[in-house]
């Protein structure tokens, strides 16, 4: 298919663009295969480049022969284009609609994008499981890297290499895979160096109504326990939901078959509920005419903050089991690709100082989301303005980022990155020129040839000028476990995402700059004083009079 077929009117003059907090721009609108471009004809050319894939929904309005297209973006921005001419407007609208909902992944922009920057470090090679395993090996010899899934035959959503207990052979893994949802047998998620406890994740056990059991599964997870020690299984579903799953062949680990494990049920909602919640929240944030009562009641009714609290609470629980109870933990929900990953990745933010660095956080996203098989492609295909309910889209990753932001806000000095990094990940997860978030799992990425045909987001991020922008000036490495408060009073609405286009951030940005300035001035002073000190010390040793007072 040629893009040209979809573009009926490639160019319209005299289009007026309305954006939040910026002056309106009049200019020429152009449609390309991947972008909507609006360029003013002024000398200091102001241009809007909007990826079609960033467009969540559009609305058309007509007043006489003047048409308007309201473009609602996945990053929650809403812009309005006034287009002279009914036909032009209709043509543009239908082209945008078609181009923003292309079915074929290989037609997406990342396959056409050529970097305008020098790739110093290829992000596709930055975080390889083998490298991560080397770190693990330096701490413990109880685990091994298995390539049982090298052709994705055991588990479609796992990476080819996974860390498993050393004493469990591949044959056992194959059997366990048949007992776990989606073949997701328990694998290592995190090793807590401080006390040697581990966190594992998996899909639900396929016990069914008959209470099927799998000796190999029991053997596998028991192999992670120290003698005489117990572990915790954190099921991200309520007891009722887990019970109901039995009818569909799923289920949970029974006390009888897993006597060394305590099971705790939590209540993280499933994806369709989360999507509904996002839609309601954004609707509430975008209506500026609300009274205080109505705003608070709509915020409450969206349940978004409740989800944040539930997810954080579960992650804290997992972290607490590991760090405070000295117990190993297995986390799963149903598929083990959504709430499970929210919990395991957030628990690492709490426990592991390395995951609070820029690179460590990339590593975390790579390991616990991308390689762990979170289906980004389907989850992020639509955002808050979608009206196609009952599909598979859901803000699972956005909720994770929101939770990280909550912890970052409570511990503003413990993270090497700032809020901008989280916002950037949110944006790129939904629409990007990079291939990182394409596909639903490692197998997809291989099939699509992402490594060869697209550029990794990390290649771009890990360059000096980007890193500078994303670095938290307050950061001071903190090797401790950080325990966030999950009290409702401590959890705020993430304004940087949800109110981003509804209120000016000028004063807050100014404050941020001032903060950076204060810190940098201090560093500058320190280095100057140090130089002087050395100079002084030298003078003092050179000076014979000082030697003999």
């Amino acid at each position: 298919m040629e893009f040209a077929e979809l573009i009926k009117t490639p160019r319209v003059d005299g289009v007026v663009l309305h954006r939040p907090f910026l002056p309106t721009v009049e200019g020429t609108l152009c449609l390309t295969g991947h972008h909507l471009i609006l360029s003013s004809r002024q000398d200091n050319t102001e241009e809007l480049w909007l990826l079609h894939s960033n467009i969540d929904a559009i609305e058309k309005r007509f007043v006489g022969s003047l048409g308007s297209i309201i473009v609602k973006c996945k990053d929650l921005r809403i812009i309005k284009l006034d287009i002279p001419g009914m036909d032009e407007c209709l043509n543009i609208a239908s082209s945008i609609e078609a181009l923003s909902t292309l079915d074929s992944v290989s037609l997406m922009y990342p396959f056409f994008y050529r970097p305008m920057f020098e790739v110093i470090e290829d992000g596709w090679n930055t975080f390889r499981p083998a490298d991560a395993f080397k770190d693990l090996e330096s701490m413990t010899d109880e685990w091994r890297l298995s390539d049982v899934n090298k052709d994705f035959s055991i588990c479609l959503s796992y990476a080819p290499l996974v860390a498993v207990p050393k004493d469990i052979d591949d044959e056992t893994l194959r059997k366990v895979a048949t007992f776990r949802h989606g073949g997701r047998f328990p694998v290592l998620s995190y090793y807590h160096k401080k006390n040697g406890m581990v966190m594992m994740r998996a899909g639900q056990p396929l016990t069914g109504t008959s209470g099927r059991r799998c000796k190999e599964d029991e053997k596998l997870i028991n192999a992670t326990l120290r003698p005489g020690k117990r572990g915790y299984i954190i099921d991200t579903r309520t007891v009722n939901v887990a019970q109901q799953a039995k009818a569909k062949g799923g289920g949970f680990e029974s006390e009888a078959n897993y006597p060394q494990w305590r099971r705790i049920h939590k209540a993280i909602e499933r994806s369709n509920v989360l999507q509904e919640s996002l839609i309601k929240l954004v609707e509430a944030c975008n209506d500026q005419t609300h009274s205080m009562d109505r705003w608070l009641s709509k915020l409450e009714a969206s349940n978004w903050q409740t989800h944040v609290k539930e997810i954080l609470t579960t992650a804290c629980l997992a972290a607490q089991c590991i760090d405070r109870e000295g117990a190993s933990v297995l986390v799963h929900g149903t598929e083990g690709t959504d709430s499970t990953l929210q919990v395991t990745s957030l628990a690492q933010i709490i426990l592991d100082p390395a995951s609070r660095t820029i690179r460590g956080f990339q590593n975390l996203v790579e390991r616990e989301w991308l390689q762990a098989g979170h289906p980004f492609q389907v989850r992020c295909s639509q955002s808050a303005y979608s009206n196609t309910k009952s599909r598979q889209e859901a803000p699972v990753f956005l909720l994770f980022l929101d939770c990280v932001w909550q912890i970052l806000r409570q511990f503003p000095c413990s993270f090497e990155f700032n809020e901008s990094f989280l916002v950037l990940l949110f944006e790129h997860a939904y629409a990007s020129q990079f291939g990182t978030f394409l596909g639903n799992c490692a197998a997809d990425r291989v099939k699509l040839g992402l490594l060869e045909k697209t550029v990794s987001l990390w290649s771009w991020v890990n360059r000096q000028q980007e890193l500078e922008r994303l670095t938290n000036p307050l950061y001071e490495a903190n090797s401790l476990v950080i325990w966030p408060s999950v009290a409702p009073q401590s959890l705020l609405l993430w304004e940087g995402v949800f109110l981003r286009w509804n209120r000016s951030s000028k004063c807050l940005d100014e404050a941020y700059e001032e903060m950076v300035h204060i810190i940098e001035y201090n560093k500058e002073l320190q280095s100057k004083v140090n130089t002087l000190r050395r100079q002084l010390a030298q003078l003092e040793t050179e000076d014979p009079l000082l030697q003999s007072p």
Binding site: I264, M292, P412, P484, V486, N502, E514, I518
Partner: protein
Amino acid sequence: MMEHIRTPKVEQVRLLDRSSGQRKAAVGTLYLSATHTIFVENNPETRKETWILHSMVSSVERPPPSPVGSQLLLRSKDFRVFQLLIPNERDCLDLHASLTRLSKPEKYSELYCMSFNPNVNKEEREESWSFIDLMEDYKRMGVPNNLWVCTMANSEYRICDTYSSELFVPKSATPAVIVGSSRFRSRGRFPVLSYFHQDTLAAVCRCSQPLSGFSGRCTEDEMMLQAIMKSNPGSEYIYVVDTRPKLNAMANKAAGKGYENEDHYTNIKLQFIGIENIHVMRSSQQKIIDVGELRAPSMTDFLWGLENSGWLKHIKAVLDAGAFIARAVADEGVSVLVHCSDGWDRTAQACSVASVLLDPFYRTIKGLMVLIERDWVSFGHKFSHRYGHLDTDPKEVSPVIDQFLECVWQLSEQFPCAFEFNESFLTQIHLHIYSSQYGTFLGNCQKERRDMRLCERSHSVWPQLWKERAQFLNPLYKAELTQSQGILRPNTSPFCFKMWKGLYNRTERPTQAPVDLLSAVRAESQQLEEELTNHEERIAALSGRPITWEKIDVPRRKINQSYLRFCGPDPPTIYHYPITSSDPDRAHKLCHVPANQTPPLQVRGHNPDDFSDLESGVADFSRSSSGCDYSKDQNVNGFNSTEGLIGAH
């Protein structure tokens, strides 16, 4: 007051001060003095002292006794809660009786400020009262001038006993007009100048409601409003802002009061804002205090409580009123006359918020003091009634100035670089308004203060706060930034308002506040600057003229330490430490332990297959991590089962 103390000393008392982030009760000795309840911890290492001023106690409750002793619950006027466990019931009854009496002074002479004697002499005390000079501020804003003059009409409080004696009125307002107008205004509070905006020559004026009833009118009052309009050469009308809901204003007509009839006054535009009355505000604040004290609420409980309290709605109304006035004055260049009923509550709020928005001076430490002194103290805001300094009519009590301070706080969240002071300056002012440690906020108007001879018998709070100003500085304040200059144009969309945790939810405050860290960094930079100069001098001296100087040793604060203070401490190692400060006021500032330190998991003993019980693992965690884990049941008076209290022993 000593005669009210039945038991001056009780030993083996347990105190839990949850607002300072404390989780476990401390054991110690309780002393009652004429002015304070003092608790001294037994722990020989810390001997931490907690001082609670009697006049700060808003209520003394005696929940039912538990097997381990009798309880006493002290709530303070700055919304802290102290739980006491007293071994002997007799002692508890005595303490209850004493504290109930001591916390409710009946006469001004019983108040702390009358006995409080900081280490200053008579001259210093007298000087302290002239620290804030309102005339200087009027001069600063450019009056008197050819539009506004100071009138002596109210000297000796002749025509309005709740106003100050020095007032500014339009130049064209004759004494006859002033007197006539004052007779037509509730309690004689005729229109006077609150703030003059030099850039546009528009003014903010204030008064009380007119005694118009259904048809009354007063030529002098109409002339007065005309005079206000004429004092603003460029404009053809003035706004009359009635800060009450229109319905309330109309209801007042029946009582012979009401609002200006636009048919009688030429060139006025009437605007109702809809700030609720003191009774609504009193109960609303109680509700938000309750929200702050909720034990382990769900998100729904919390947000519903917030909505139901109506508090943020009221804060928004006050800010909206101020913003309307500021816009009229700055953008339209139109003068505004503000009133409510008596013109001392809502009017004070609206006028002072408008001043903060209009003039950067009022966003400085000194400026806020001046503003409170002018719009609140000098214009007869009834401090002693509103803040319950004496045991008087509880219906007169209302958090009027709390709302003004909160508006300033909400603004500082939107404009982080625009205010010279930080949050603790606001909470400190709040504290002193209630504490009656200083005479500044005593009484209900200037005349009362003069009659009480407060200047001779007590001290002013302002010089004291000024002395301590280093701790009130906002490190981000930068006068050069655009947001610090000129007019503030706040966004008053509902989503811009947050619960003020510094006041209503101290236990859940974030443990690492960037501003505190930045203050530390700036302090360090200052030291480095000095060191730099010193080194340079020394190097110059050494290389030029070798004299043997003593090595200049600038005490160097290691930055890493100050950073660490704000970095998440490892809970298992730090959490159980007692608070090591002996200074009660600093205790909660120093306690930077995350608020949600979680006790060991409460999942033991569960049978994982017992479904009915399984969810309690969830509940336990969420409760324990919500900042009030010390009690495992959700009973606020939970001494019976508080592991924390018993376990501490």
